[in-house]
């Protein structure tokens, strides 16, 4: 049974899903002031929000979350690793009621670089090998000196690799694997 059939079967619940996602920890993290040093591996920022890097990257630098801004990063990796990303735990998504998963964010950086967001879905280990499937948004994000708003949507019916059911889902924002600085002013996933 595909997504379209299930959507027709339960139209009455669709409108309840059209909203900004209520993500645990995001509002709290946005409002609090915090800072710390970057280090290789897992760095918790708030409940359901963390940074994670390949140990080979030998991540160094600083992060802070000043008032009114989600996150500021000053990153200086020492090694050559495969990834560095910011992860957001998502609430349960009832895919049968959804058409789009979207993201709006506002960011700036003194020097441009490329970020690429994706919707990550957990799968049984033997299906994908890695235990998850990433569906990348079409558009990358290039922050400029002046703060810019970015918005993009995934049209869920067009993603054959997106698992219909998943034990967990995350919004993952992949950063460069070389030195950069940025301000992520705010970030809001939403569903329609």
């Amino acid at each position: 049974m595909n997504l379209r059939m299930l959507r027709r079967a339960a139209p009455s619940t669709a409108s309840k899903e059209n909203s900004a996602l209520q993500m645990r920890g995001l509002a709290e993290f946005q409002s609090q002031k915090t800072s710390g040093l970057l280090s290789p591996g897992h760095i918790p920022l708030a409940d359901g929000i963390w940074l994670h890097s390949d140990e080979e990257l030998q991540l160094e630098g600083r992060y802070s979350s000043p008032a009114g801004r989600l996150l500021e990063l000053d990153v200086a990796p020492k090694g050559d690793g495969a990834w560095f990303a910011m992860h957001f735990d998502l609430p349960p998504l009832h895919m049968q009621n959804l058409r789009y998963f979207g993201l709006v964010c506002r960011s700036s950086a003194p020097e441009p670089f490329i970020m690429h967001p994706c919707l990550r879905s957990g799968v049984p280990e033997n299906e994908a090998g890695s235990g998850f499937v990433d569906c990348f948004f079409d558009k990358h994000i290039v922050p400029g000196v002046r703060a810019q708003t970015h918005m993009d949507c995934l049209y869920l019916d067009s993603l054959p690799s997106l698992p219909f059911e998943s034990a967990w889902r995350q919004l993952v924002l992949f950063f460069p694997r070389s030195a950069f600085r940025m301000s992520l002013l705010h970030l809001h996933p939403f569903v329609i």
């Binding site: 495969a82 990834w83 990303a85 441009p112 490329i114 558009k139 990358h140 290039v142 694997r177």
Partner: protein, 358 residues
């Protein structure tokens, strides 16, 4: 050898695209079939960058080769791209923003001609046509221009796209940039002379698009030769270094050009006597129309002065266009300038950090 991938609906409108010019670049530039083979991606229009295919943007994400907007049209730079003075700017594609190096009349010397305006180099037809016609016209005694103007079939001819929309009326005073499409359309509609012709598909439904003709330029010169006393020769955009074929076509056809040129415009470098053309710079469409309507072609003094000046203009233009060395020198200037710009972009271009694994 610089390997270039060209893309987009307007890809035929770059210096690299014209058969008349391509031979200049063959020793320095190779056109490749896929983005992954390119040192540079080159576009002619900002719309083509917005519509860039995923294959190209994906390749840019991985390899970060410079993206170049090589635009020969100030009209496109002002109406669509809208950042005419930025040497580097961001353009939003369907796949995300990309940084773009802009080579335009405003940002680069590529189009800053030495003697012969860039557009006349794009097809050998211009050299051939102007040599023949200015040689003919320069041989006409100046006194013979008086009966020529007296016997013209039309007082005034306009041949350009009818574009009345207000959004064409852009102005960037810091670059002496003025959008003229709406201005010249309003002028053409305001003129109330009895013998005025407004030519072209947008003025007369049912007429073929000029650009669909095999040789639209020859068709224009043949059909308008000796036709009019005055020919509207206004560019679509006023830019100091931008001179198309229009004003030269008017002189070639034996018509006094009506033009729009600020004191800084380079048409003033061609040695054209003031009385040989009508400069409507600074006029509104209505005041320009009034000026054209008030010309008294029955006034002997005016006719004599105009004929004399017009004859001198023919001599001046023959001097410009009859010298093969001038054409060769201009072509090689274009080659050197464009190759230098590409090399500079390749040297300066820095990859921006990416999250994509190569």
């Amino acid at each position: 050898m610089i390997r270039i991938f060209k893309s987009g609906r307007h890809a035929k409108r770059t210096p690299l695209s014209y058969p008349a010019l391509w031979s200049l670049f063959q020793d320095d530039i190779e056109l490749v079939d896929a983005p992954a083979q390119a040192d540079l991606y080159v576009f002619a229009h900002s719309l083509d960058i917005q519509e860039a295919p995923l294959e190209l943007v994906d390749d840019w994400r991985q390899r970060q080769r410079p993206i170049v907007l090589l635009s020969e049209e100030p009209f496109w730079d002002t109406i669509w791209a809208r950042m005419p003075f930025a040497r580097v700017r961001m353009i939003d594609t369907r796949w995300g923003d990309v940084p773009v190096h802009q080579l335009t009349h405003q940002t680069s010397e590529v189009f800053h001609f030495e003697r012969i305006p860039y557009f006349l180099l794009t097809n050998h037809r211009f050299a051939n046509a102007y040599l023949a016609r200015f040689r003919r016209n320069a041989a006409v005694p100046h006194s013979d221009w008086v009966p020529h103007f007296r016997s013209a079939q039309s007082d005034l001819v306009f041949m350009f796209e009818r574009r009345p929309e207000a959004y064409h009326s852009i102005q960037w005073p810091e670059g002496d940039l003025v959008g003229l499409c709406a201005w010249r359309t309003d002028l053409a509609e305001a003129v109330s002379l009895r013998r005025v012709k407004r030519l072209g598909h947008s003025w007369r439904k049912g007429m073929a698009f000029r650009t669909s003709l095999f040789d639209w330029h020859l068709d224009k010169l043949v059909s308008l030769d000796g036709e009019a006393r005055i020919m509207g020769a206004f560019e679509n955009t006023h830019q100091p270094h931008y001179i198309s074929e229009k004003i030269f076509d008017a002189f070639a056809c034996g018509a006094v050009p009506a033009y729009f040129a600020s004191p800084g415009h380079r048409i003033h470098e061609f040695g054209l006597p003031e009385a040989s053309w009508i400069n409507l710079y600074g006029e509104t469409p209505q005041s320009a129309a009034a000026q054209l309507e008030q010309i008294d072609w029955n006034c002997e003094d005016f006719l004599g002065e105009t004929a004399n000046a017009f004859s001198q203009a023919q001599d001046a233009l023959l001097t410009v266009f009859e010298c093969p060395h001038s054409w060769r020198k201009e072509r090689h200037r274009l080659r050197r300038s464009l190759v230098c710009e590409f090399e500079r972009i390749l040297e300066d271009g820095r990859a921006i950090p990416t999250s994509f694994v190569g």
